[in-house]
Chain length 398, copies 2
C-alpha cells in the first residue's frame, strides 16, 4: 500500500428531506451575495428553480445560466465577472457535474485578475492553490461525475480543442443529494452517467500498487452496486432505490476514498477526453465504448491477477482457469455496457472517420503521460490509435 493523505470536508445531505428545510442556512452561513449557476431551462420546467428561489428569499441572488455539458471556458469567464462585480460570497450550483465543475473554477476565478483559462491550463493548479476560493453549495441533478465531493473540474476550450482537468483546493462545502431530482434524467444520460461512475471505479481499481485490499474491496462493492442498479434506473426512472444507489455510488466513487493507498494512473479518461474535445460526444458514452477495448489491451500475464479478481469479486465468475476468467470478465463488462443501450462503436456516436486518430492519440499521450508510467499499463501513440480503431468495430466482442 502506498503512503497517502486523505481529507474531505464536504458536508453531504443525502435523501428526500433536506433541501427545503436546510438550503437557506447552508447557503447563508457564507454570506448574502449568492451566484446561482445552472444549465438550460430544465430546472425551471421541473419546479426546482422555484423551490431554490423560495429557499433563498432575502438573499441577494445573481444568476448565471446556460452552462453547457462539457462546460466551456466562456461560462467561467462570465461567472468570474459576475463574482467580482457583485462581490459574491458563495456559489450555489444547481445541476449536474458540468454546472458544478464550472462553479468550482468560478469560485477560484473571483480571486484571479487574469484570463480564467490560465487557472485551467496550469495543470498543476498551482495558480489556484495560491489564491482563495469561494465556498460552493450544490444541488445535484445527475449521478455521474462525483464533482459533488471532490476538488476537480474538467473544462473545455473549444478554440484550442482542449479539455483539461483542474483542481481547486476546496471540495464543495455542502452537497445536497436528492435522488428524486434524477427521476427525470433520460435513459441516455442515465446510461452515460452510470458508466461514468463505473469508469471512475475501473480507473482506480486497475492500479499499480499491490496488496491494497481495503480499497480494492470497497471498489468491488461499489462496482456491483452500479452493475445492479443502472439497468433498473433505465427501465424504471422513478425507482428510488436505483437512483439512490447510483447517486451515492457516484459520490463515493470519486471523493478520494477509492484511490487511498493506490498508485493510480488514469488511462481511459485522457483517451476519451480527446473524443469529447474533438467531437463533443457524451463523456460517459465515450468511456463505455473505449473501456472494454482498453481492458483487452491491458490484460497480460503481468496484469492477469487483477483481472481475475475483477471477474471473481465483481462478476461472480467461478472456475479454475484464470485466463478464461479474466477474458470472461472483460466480455461481461462489454455485455453490461451494451445492455445499457450505449452504442458500442465510435460510429454509433457519429465518429465515422479516422482522420483525427493520430492527433488525438498524441494529445492523450502528452496530457496523460501515458507512455511514461502515467497509466496502469504504458500506451504509445500507436497503441491509442489502435484503441480508437478497435472502437470502430464490434470485432472481438460480438
Amino acid at each position: 500500500m502506498e503512503d497517502f493523505r486523505f481529507q474531505n470536508s464536504t458536508d453531504i445531505r443525502f435523501g428526500k428531506h433536506h433541501i427545503d428545510e436546510e438550503l437557506h442556512d447552508a447557503v447563508a452561513q457564507f454570506g448574502q451575495n449568492v451566484l446561482l449557476t445552472y444549465g438550460g431551462g430544465s430546472i425551471k420546467k421541473s419546479g426546482l428553480y422555484d423551490r431554490v428561489m423560495k429557499a433563498l428569499a432575502g438573499l441577494h441572488v445573481v444568476e448565471l445560466s446556460g452552462i453547457a455539458p462539457n462546460p466551456k471556458i466562456d461560462s467561467i469567464r462570465e461567472g468570474q465577472k459576475l463574482a467580482k462585480d457583485h462581490d459574491i460570497d458563495v456559489v450555489l450550483s444547481v445541476g449536474g457535474g458540468s454546472v458544478l465543475d464550472a462553479s468550482k473554477v468560478i469560485a477560484s476565478a473571483k480571486f484571479y485578475d487574469g484570463d480564467a483559462w490560465d487557472l485551467v491550463a496550469d495543470r498543476g493548479s498551482q495558480s489556484r492553490a495560491n489564491i482563495d476560493q469561494l465556498p460552493v453549495v450544490d444541488i445535484l441533478t445527475l449521478s455521474a461525475t462525483g464533482s459533488e465531493m471532490n476538488a476537480g473540474s474538467v473544462i473545455s476550450n473549444p478554440e484550442l480543442n482542449v479539455k483539461l482537468g483542474t483542481y481547486g483546493p476546496k471540495t464543495p462545502a455542502v452537497s445536497f443529494l436528492d435522488p428524486q431530482l434524477t427521476y427525470s434524467v433520460s435513459k441516455w444520460q442515465t446510461a452515460a452517467g452510470s458508466f461514468d461512475i463505473f469508469s471512475h471505479l475501473t480507473e482506480q481499481y486497475f492500479d499499480r500498487s499491490t496488496a491494497n485490499d481495503v480499497t480494492a474491496g470497497i471498489i468491488e462493492g461499489m462496482m456491483r452496486s452500479v452493475i445492479k442498479w443502472a439497468p433498473i434506473a433505465i427501465k424504471e426512472p422513478d425507482n428510488y432505490d436505483a437512483r439512490a444507489n447510483l447517486m451515492w455510488g457516484a459520490t463515493m466513487a470519486l471523493n478520494g476514498i477509492a484511490r487511498s493507498g493506490n498508485a493510480n494512473g488514469w488511462t481511459v479518461h485522457p483517451i476519451e477526453h480527446e473524443l469529447s474535445a474533438y467531437y463533443d460526444i457524451t463523456h460517459g458514452v465515450g468511456l463505455g465504448i473505449l473501456t472494454p477495448r482498453w481492458m483487452k489491451r491491458a490484460l497480460s500475464a503481468e496484469t492477469e491477477g487483477k483481472f481475475v479478481r475483477f471477474g471473481r469479486e465483481v462478476w461472480h465468475l467461478t472456475g479454475d482457469n484464470d485466463h478464461e476468467i479474466a477474458e470472461k470478465a472483460i466480455q461481461a463488462t462489454y455485455d453490461w455496457i451494451k445492455s445499457l443501450d450505449i452504442p458500442m462503436t465510435l460510429g454509433g456516436v457519429d465518429i465515422n472517420t479516422d482522420e483525427k486518430f493520430v492527433e488525438m492519440a498524441q494529445e492523450a499521450v502528452r496530457i496523460g503521460h501515458l507512455d511514461q508510467g502515467g497509466g496502469y499499463v504504458n500506451l504509445t501513440v500507436d497503441d491509442i490509435v489502435a484503441l480508437y480503431q478497435a472502437s470502430s468495430t464490434v470485432e472481438g466482442f460480438e
Copy 2:
C-alpha cells in the same frame, strides 16, 4: 436507503513517511500549549516518545500518562485539570483507541466546569455539543477502534460498573497512521483489534434498511480484507501490507461511511460492554466470543437474505441452498475467529460464573434499547442471558 448526513473532516496522514516531517506543524497550527496523552511506558521503550518530543521541540508540552485500556473517568478528570491549568491549545494523543477516546473527552472537558463524568453520562452528548472542544492530533499505535476518524469515545466508570459511549462534536483534527507502529502489537491484541474491526462492520452490515448496495458492498470488501490480513499479521507481525490493511480497515470501518444510508442498531457492542464493565476483559475478545452466538440468534426467515449475501460475498460460499449458506457463513465466521486464537468461550477469559448474567443483560437492554428496535433484531433480557449462556460452551459450533 435512508436519508443521512455525512461529514468528516479528519486529515489522514497514512504511511511510513509523515510523522517526523509533519508532526510539528500539524500540532503547532493550533497553538503552543500541548497536552501529550499516552498509556503505559510502551511508547518510551519503542522510541516513539523520543521522536515525538523531538518533533515538538519549542512547544510547551504537558504530559498525561497512564491512560488504561477501557479508559477510566479518572484519567479524564486528571486531563481536564491539566487542560485548564495550562491553558492547553491542542491535545496530542499517542497510543491506541483508549488513549484517543480519553483525549477526545478531555478536549471537551477543558470547557466544562463540572465533573467530567457528566459529559459521559449524558448519552445524547448535548452537554458536549453545547461547549467547545480542543483539536486532537493523534499518532495511532493500534488498529482497532476507529477512534482516529470519528467523534466517539467509550469511557468506563469503575465505581458505577458502567461503560458508556459519548460523542464530541469533533472528529480528530489530524490522524497519523503509520502501520509500522503496530509491528510490536502482541498476537492477542492484534487478534482482539482485528475482531473489533470486523465487529464494527457486522454491526453496520446487519441493518434494517433495504437496498443500500453501495454501503453493503463497501462493507463486504472491508470484511474480506480483515479476514485475509488478520491471520497474516498475527503470524508475521512485521508484515507491512497486513498491518497497513488492518490499520486503514479499522479507520474506514468506523468513520461514518459504513453506516451511510443504513438504519443501524448496534447489538453486540452493548452486550459486550457489560462484560468489559463487569470483568474488564479485552473488548475485541468479548465481541469475538459473542458475535457468532448473536448471529445464530439473529438468523430467521426474515433475516436469511442478508446472511446469505454475507455468505456469498464475504465467504465466497456457493450453492443453491440458501439456508445452508446462511448457516455456513456463521460457522465460517466462528472458525475464522477461532483461528485468530481468540478463546471461544467466556470461560476462556475467566468468566466462570453466571451470577451477573441477568444484571448485565438488563443493563445491555436498557442502554442499547435492545428490546425496542434498538438493534438489528429485538432482544429481551432473557434472550441476552441465553446469549451469555451459549457463550459459555462451544456447543453448536464444535
